[in-house]
Symmetry: D2
Subunit: 336 residues, 4 copies
């Protein structure tokens, strides 16, 4: 039974606690938070768990094997660093840290201490994203032309990070996973309406090649909750609508083909193919459960997590470049 300490019991921490408890292979020993009310609430829900306001009570506890960090982004590096240095395996909520340099530092420390470092890109553990990955890898869609993603909602405004750092890690981690490659460059455009220094609406463009682009639109200011990703391929197209309760993925047998030969420009005709639409059955556990089970597996079997430090680094590299692009009039920032 792996013993777990959780730093941060705000928005996401309670989900980590619940799922670590339900795994039956890990046990949450102690949780830390600065807010006494949150600690009291955790104690009421889980009478057997210790609480503390000083996170060092977790770092210094030799019985604790895993430290899970669910605090504001700017503190990720400090908590993860101390935990790794103390010989703990570390699970950090996304994004891994607040800068490329911080991420690289954590990766190096984890390597030196031979501890597992994992970042919580939870969507990679959903049945829908697994299904999409499987479909793309099978070649069913043909060559991928572009990906278009929207993640829009009203609020949950963050105070320390903008909408890109808040929402886009989901889309970026999914897209990198699906395509299995990193973009050449990124550009970003956005604007602020509620807090002058924090963008609440933004569009990112990831360029993977001259023709393969991915658009990511994020907003905290949309009346509808939209989480929709379209993957357009040369043979088929796929739409992933995460807001749908059961019918999350649709595969469209629609494609456009450019004929090899044609006699005159006037005769030039593209051939369209329309066909059936398939809504594949997808099933699965709560993704966070699957994710934490994977982390426990990796610790026990000494394997590299799917979302390891490098995975977290790749996402932060794009976030950091987006920030630079915003500052430089949405210029394309090279990632190579």
């Amino acid at each position: 039974m792996l013993q777990v300490g959780v730093i941060g019991c705000g928005y996401w921490g309670p989900n980590l606690i619940r799922n670590f408890q339900l795994l039956n292979r890990s046990n949450v020993m102690r949780v830390a938070d600065l807010d006494m009310r949150r600690l009291k609430h955790m104690k009421a829900l889980y009478p057997t768990i210790d609480t503390c306001t000083n996170y060092m009570d977790i770092i210094n506890d030799p019985d604790i094997d895993i430290v899970a960090v669910a605090t504001p982004v700017k503190t990720h590096h400090r908590f993860a660093l101390e935990a790794l240095t103390a010989g703990k395996h570390v699970f950090v909520e996304k994004p891994l840290a607040a800068s490329v340099a911080e991420c690289e530092d954590l990766i190096e420390i984890a390597r030196q201490n031979q501890r597992k470092l994992m970042v919580g890109h939870t969507f990679l553990f959903t049945a829908a994203v697994r299904k999409m990955k499987e479909i793309i890898d099978s070649g069913e869609l043909g060559e991928i032309y572009y990906i278009n993603s929207q993640r829009l909602n009203l609020g949950l405004f963050q105070q320390d990070i903008n909408v890109i750092w808040d929402l886009a890690p989901h889309d970026i981690s999914i897209i990198l996973h699906l395509l299995g490659q990193e973009p050449l460059s990124v550009s970003a455009i956005g604007s602020s309406h509620i807090n002058p220094s924090i963008e609440d609406v933004a569009v990112l463009t990831l360029k993977f090649s001259e023709s393969l682009l991915a658009f990511i639109q994020t907003s905290w200011l949309d009346p509808d909750k939209i989480r929709r990703m379209t993957v357009v391929g040369s043979k088929k197209m796929m739409v992933y609508d995460d807001v749908q309760p059961t019918e999350k993925i649709r595969i469209y047998d629609k494609s456009v083909e450019k004929p090899e030969h044609y006699d005159t420009f006037a005769e030039f005709q593209y051939s369209y193919k329309y066909g059936d639409i398939i809504i594949p059955k997808i099933t699965g556990d709560e993704p966070l459960r699957t994710e934490l089970r994977h982390f426990v597996d990796c610790i026990e079997n000494d394997e590299q997590p799917l979302c390891d430090g490098n995975s977290g680094l790749r996402v932060v590299k794009i976030l950091e470049a987006s920030q630079q692009s915003l500052a430089e009039g949405s210029s394309h920032i090279s990632l190579r």
Copy 2:
């Protein structure tokens, strides 16, 4: 009864013919096309209309008052110019012409000949856009924060223009109309997949001020037909979904307010307001009918059309700058 000649009987021309006929105040005398099959089909549908392959038979006919041009964009300038010079009132399908210079030329010739020049920004004559304009002008939405527009579909690939010139004139003309102002700059990013030299996917960003942006996403390569515009205001938000048969507009009483004062950063709380959603009743004629009736009214009453040459020019200015932005790595092209 105003006599009309129509140049071009391909995709859109027949709609012009039908609606000019049904107005009861105009009569289509003659139509021109290079394709004999199209002419034959028109003759079968409207036995009383003359057909010709030489458009000069229309230009030179002294009985014709109005020339309507529904041909590929690159030919708009030539046909409209000759018709205006010959003293005809001219209706041109959107976009008005292939360049700013061409548009300016047409405006000047129309002025010199004291003829009406109108461009077919049909959406401005829909009941939905009229309702949106009314709502925005009433101040009901508060300050406009941003506009987000998507116009996606599978195909009808154009051979002489890219997806921006094909689809974005609709969104641009609607947005300029709703906001009543012109953008400071525009940037564009896109890519080509079917025809190497013609973008089939693109995103435009119009910057009206540091905080007021409008995003326009266009695609010929999407499995779904999406025509959706979200207008986010400080008081309310509005979604216009043109694909809905009857419920085209929804007004959301949702907003975010930044409190004036707060004691500590930790207490910082944005106040969200959620309220009812209203789907206003909208009714109206076929928009093209309304549009052509407006043109006939303007001719008869010697008034300036809502979509006059300057309106067409404003849209083409943005299209031309988008093209430049695409060529220059999606830099922001100033429009002032």
Copy 3:
């Protein structure tokens, strides 16, 4: 070229005229209506067609081969009877006539005069219903358990017939076609709200066997336009949503299976199977075009129409029994 006369130019007549004209194998010579304004309007749309207020001008014209009847139900028998007696082939809008006796009379007269009699059950000629028939006949759904149909809308109140006679012929003709059998009995329940003597809301139940039922719900008083039919089979289930513009049919790979054996009542478990959903591509002409082409084919090749007099009779038999059930406290009226 078959010459056509159309009696009735109200709601549906103009559609018949347009489609007979577009077939290229039939020509509408003359149309009759009591309303001069309707005749004038038809003349404006089709300058080559003669108009008359006395339908006998159609019946007595030896050049006319086909008489199409699109008048109120109570007049169907009279017009069809005279046309058949005069040696015309006759197309009658649904329902065929106002009673079983009238239907039987028309069938007999058509037989004696060796003329074709067809009733306009247009839905049988839609691509969606053809697809459903194909799927059911293939056995893909397994044994059919029940059919549930809703046809709801706000209005188009009829003045001479109730909502059952107005709307249910569509559902009845589709269901009889899909199942290929006639019900043993029918019961009906309904009520009147706008006009005291005319039901505007009703539910029919057709019993095909002890376990195979079909429910048909009709209303002129519903805020939404709903046209939805669910066919539940032992292997798969199918939903036909006619209001959807393109995705009209969905096939669900969901079924419930009763296990053959189980040890204890407590262990009793039904096995559910969930699988993919398929939205098959369906394409096709305007159904009315297909329907009239079929009629012309049948005349030219001396074949029996799919919707012949007997088909019309089977539907009217159920309508008449429904009426009787309404009058008798919704008792089951035997149809055998």
Copy 4:
């Protein structure tokens, strides 16, 4: 703090336990079930709760104030009766009992013992149904013409009761609550496909007056999850779609009015009014929490619960009559 004992920890019992615990005014002392695995699971979730296999350990415990019964329907009467006799307040899951006689017995025993008896018609405590009740009572819809309800789904087949007893109590309790009156008669039609003796598809018709009907359609054999109720009034119409996550109620300003006078039958025209659609904001706690809080309030303040024994009896009376109607060829069974 009221002490609670729960009999039955299968499907619904755990929800009762969780909500009694979260109320802060009640405490679950002991739960009973015949299945040791369920008891073990409850113990793991709530370490402070006692478990037992003999329900008499609850009945006989003098410290227990409330007994909640969440067992199969046929056992409701026995458990509730013993608990009431032992001086407990009793909460019973819907339906109250398996027959009218059993309900009447429980009501009488509760009266004699001066204990509260409440049945779990949870939907009455949802924000949506409260909103609907408020709207109807305000007269906004005008005279109610009819109610149409569908509750369809694939499975959760019951082994001891048919689909009417399983699903219709929800619709019946909502409809009686909304209309504030009892029906004159009920008729039912249904059929069995999976288990020969248990109807899995059924339609009920409640007749409140010659013109006011309510239709309730229930199915365990539908591919979609549909929970939709339409209330049609003379002034407005309202649709309650419980499957929608947030937009559960829509109010349509659509109505049909019969003009008082008209000159000729040919001129007879109904006037339709179309207007805006309103989706009112509805908010609220988990309904079961609200329901149990109400029960605790009633006990503490000695008030009659909204869903008291008589409320439960009214629903069972209709269920019993439906059963009789099914047995008698769907005849109308009088309820007066």
